[in-house]
């Protein structure tokens, strides 16, 4: 089985690492081997943040090899062009325009809304996503994040 390569990119404070953690948890819940790599530290000061998630039967490097991403999820528009070369030919770009932020209960859930869009592309049961989202946030944030996910997944 081929390894699935996902890159999530944005700026510090946009929930890039949270989103990547949810994807990794989803893959784990499905029984895949999974690796997630990230760089933080200075990124806490509004710099760019990128996290790689890889899953499949056997995964070695924690980093998606350059130009081999199957999916590129872009949370900040200004990170799109610089990261586009990370996509393989035929890879799927999930751009911030995919979501109308005004349709979200909480604008901070934009990252999770993009995961809703991503989820359409992956053959993973919706319930697994919902469980992983619930596990990633305190209870008071569940409703907003589930709404955002649902909006991204179904346009609802």
């Amino acid at each position: 089985m081929k390894v699935t390569n996902i890159i999530i990119t944005g700026l510090g404070g946009q929930g890039v690492l949270t989103a990547a953690g949810i994807v990794a948890d989803v893959a784990f819940r499905c029984g895949f081997e999974v690796k997630q790599s990230e760089l933080h530290g200075l990124s806490q000061r509004g710099g760019s943040v990128t996290s790689d998630v890889r899953f499949g039967r056997e995964v070695f490097s924690p980093m998606v090899p350059s130009g081999e991403a199957d999916f590129l999820v872009v949370v900040a528009p200004d990170q799109m062009e610089v990261n586009r070369p990370q996509l393989r030919a035929g890879g799927v770009l999930i751009a911030p325009e995919a979501i109308d932020i005004t349709k979200l209960t909480n604008r901070k859930s934009f990252n999770v809304a993009l995961l809703g869009v991503l989820s359409r592309q992956l053959d993973i049961p919706e319930t697994v996503w919902l469980d992983a989202i619930r596990a990633a946030f305190p209870e008071k944030l569940h409703a907003a994040n589930l709404q955002a996910f649902n909006h991204g997944r179904k346009g609802a």
Partner: protein
């Protein structure tokens, strides 16, 4: 009975979990990306963890724990090991009764550091065994192994991490680590622990004997693994480089080293003899390559251009192909910046307006080196702002010397600024000097860790607190000022202007908690007041 449990953990979390499972009595260290989360996680899991003022003090405390027969973990980033190195070299001689594990995280590619030193050289130089985990599972397993090795050979062990191991998550199987720790005790083993020359000479011989014994043991050790494959290519590797190499050339034969000092040289020799082409793939310095070649084993290694930066699958492919053509530029990241509204902005404006020569230091304020301020004239290592500023003042002509100011943050000041103040009092430059402490009441850059100047422990509980202004006065600095820098910058500007040219010693403390933690700090203070009130009422 062994309990098996699989969880998605980062390398840092895995070290913390293993430390907990292995019965580490105390974890200590100083925050530094990428190693910071180890102690925070150890504490969150229920371990006893504390921040020390700096890595050397942390290492001293940890050695004391190990002298008492208990298990100690001391964590730091690579440059922190430089600070702790004084202890490391001689603790290798004294050895320890309990376990002493140094966790040091290198940062190849400098995601968040001032250099990309390869700390593996320390194991060789100090003579301490070294383990190099490649991923989070190995971070767990090798932490447990480090504790076992440390107790078995009574020697400090270096667990050398890198950023990708610290911050990459994968599924980690944990288990019950059954070997119980001995109860803390004290032996008057002064001939072993008092390192006067008469006792240190035999101690050095004991150390070399231990290492020779370990080298033999390492030949059969399962921390080094052979992954059989095509005999036309053999790859000797360690750390995260192994993962990239395995992916780049899955059919090759691998000798994946885990215990990389002292090296299992005969195992490497035998492996090299079984393959047609033997190549060393390692990140950073040619540490393995040099040792293997010195043993007379012919191996290929990477071209010099791959010493710089992190390795990844693409770069390993290039190394395998001997490709030295220019590499495609990495994805340009957006540089970090000060948070909008940070009061440091106003401070930088004043430094710029007064045309100061700024001897800077390590922290959020290092960002003052970037546009639009570009006010930092030098930033070298923790605490260097004060000494470097003094050196400039000593020799520059007065009109230039009187523009020199040392700028240091609160946590960095606690780390290694106090000795700088002592130097200033002891050897004052003819034009005096100005030290500005930017006190935002946190180790902000690494994620708001506490320190001895905040009056709160790692867990944000109340504890003793150092007053920088009292300290300055106690050291004999007469001009000590505390200023709130948040709104009106005029008082600071006038004060600094005066101090720069008054030919005296001046300490200016700009104090305002970082706006990102102000709310949290109030919460800690409220919780502390509540927990204290019943005691006070009695």
């Amino acid at each position: 009975m062994t309990e098996t449990n699989r969880r998605l953990l980062s390398g840092n979390e895995a070290v913390a979990l293993a430390a907990l499972h292995a019965g580490v009595a105390l974890g200590t260290g100083y925050p530094g990306t990428p190693a910071t989360e180890i102690l925070e996680e150890f504490s969150a899991l229920g371990g006893r963890a504390q921040w020390a003022p700096n890595e050397k003090v942390a290492a001293e405390v940890a050695l004391g724990v190990a002298f008492a027969g208990a298990r100690a973990l001391v964590t730091m980033k690579h440059v922190g090991l430089n600070v702790a190195a004084d202890l490391l070299f001689t603790a290798a001689y004294t050895g320890c009764d309990g376990a002493l594990v140094f966790v040091s995280a290198d940062d190849p590619g400098m995601a968040s550091s001032q250099n990309e030193q390869d700390s593996r050289r320390y194991a060789l130089a100090a003579g301490v065994p070294m383990l190099e985990p490649a991923d989070a599972q190995e971070a767990y397993d090798f932490t447990a192994a480090a504790i076992e090795l440390s107790e078995r050979w009574k020697i400090p062990v270096l667990l050398r991490m890198v950023t990708r191991v610290c911050h990459s998550k994968e599924l980690v199987s944990s288990r019950a680590l059954t070997q119980a720790a001995t109860a803390p005790h004290f032996d008057h083993a002064y001939k072993v622990r008092v390192m006067i020359p008469a006792y240190a000479r035999p101690a050095h011989r004991r150390l070399r004997a231990k290492l020779a014994e370990m080298a033999v043991w390492n030949e059969q050790c399962d921390l080094n693994r052979i992954i059989g494959g095509d005999r036309s290519l053999g790859i000797v590797t360690s750390s995260a480089a192994y993962l990239h190499a395995r992916e780049a050339e899955p059919t090759a034969s691998f000798l994946k080293l885990g215990l990389t000092y002292p090296l299992p040289i005969e195992k490497i020799r035998a492996f090299a003899a079984t393959v047609k082409r033997c190549l060393v793939i390692e990140e950073g310095d040619p540490y393995l390559t040099e040792a293997i070649r010195a043993a007379g084993i012919p191996v290929e290694t990477k071209p010099e251009m791959y010493r710089f930066g992190e390795l990844n699958v693409a770069r390993v492919r290039r190394i395998l192909a001997g490709d030295t053509s220019p590499e495609p530029p990495p994805v340009p990241g957006k540089p970090p910046q000060l948070c909008a509204g940070c009061w440091y902005e106003h401070t930088f404006d004043v430094l710029k307006k007064l045309d100061c020569l700024v001897s800077g230091d390590i922290g959020c304020y290092t960002l003052g080196a970037l546009s639009p301020w570009e006010v930092m004239d030098s930033v070298v290592c923790m605490g260097a702002s004060i000494g470097v500023g003094l050196g400039l003042r000593h020799v520059l002509p007065p009109e230039l010397a009187q523009r020199v100011v040392s700028v240091i943050g609160d946590s960095t000041f606690v780390h290694s600024g106090m000795a700088g103040l002592a130097e200033m009092v002891y050897n004052p430059p003819p034009t005096g000097h100005v030290v500005v402490i930017l006190d935002n009441s946190a180790t902000a850059m690494t994620g708001f860790q506490e320190h001895a100047g905040t009056g709160r422990t790692l867990d944000h509980e109340p504890t003793g607190k150092i007053s920088f202004e009292d300290l300055g006065r106690a050291l004999g600095i007469k001009n000590v000022f505390v200023v709130d820098p948040s709104r009106n910058t005029e008082p600071f500007e006038h004060l600094l202007k005066d101090c720069l040219t008054n030919n005296q010693l001046n300490l200016i403390i700009l104090r305002r908690p970082c706006m990102l933690i102000a709310g949290k700090v109030k919460g800690y203070e409220k919780a502390a007041a509540q927990s204290c009130s019943p005691v006070k009422a009695e």
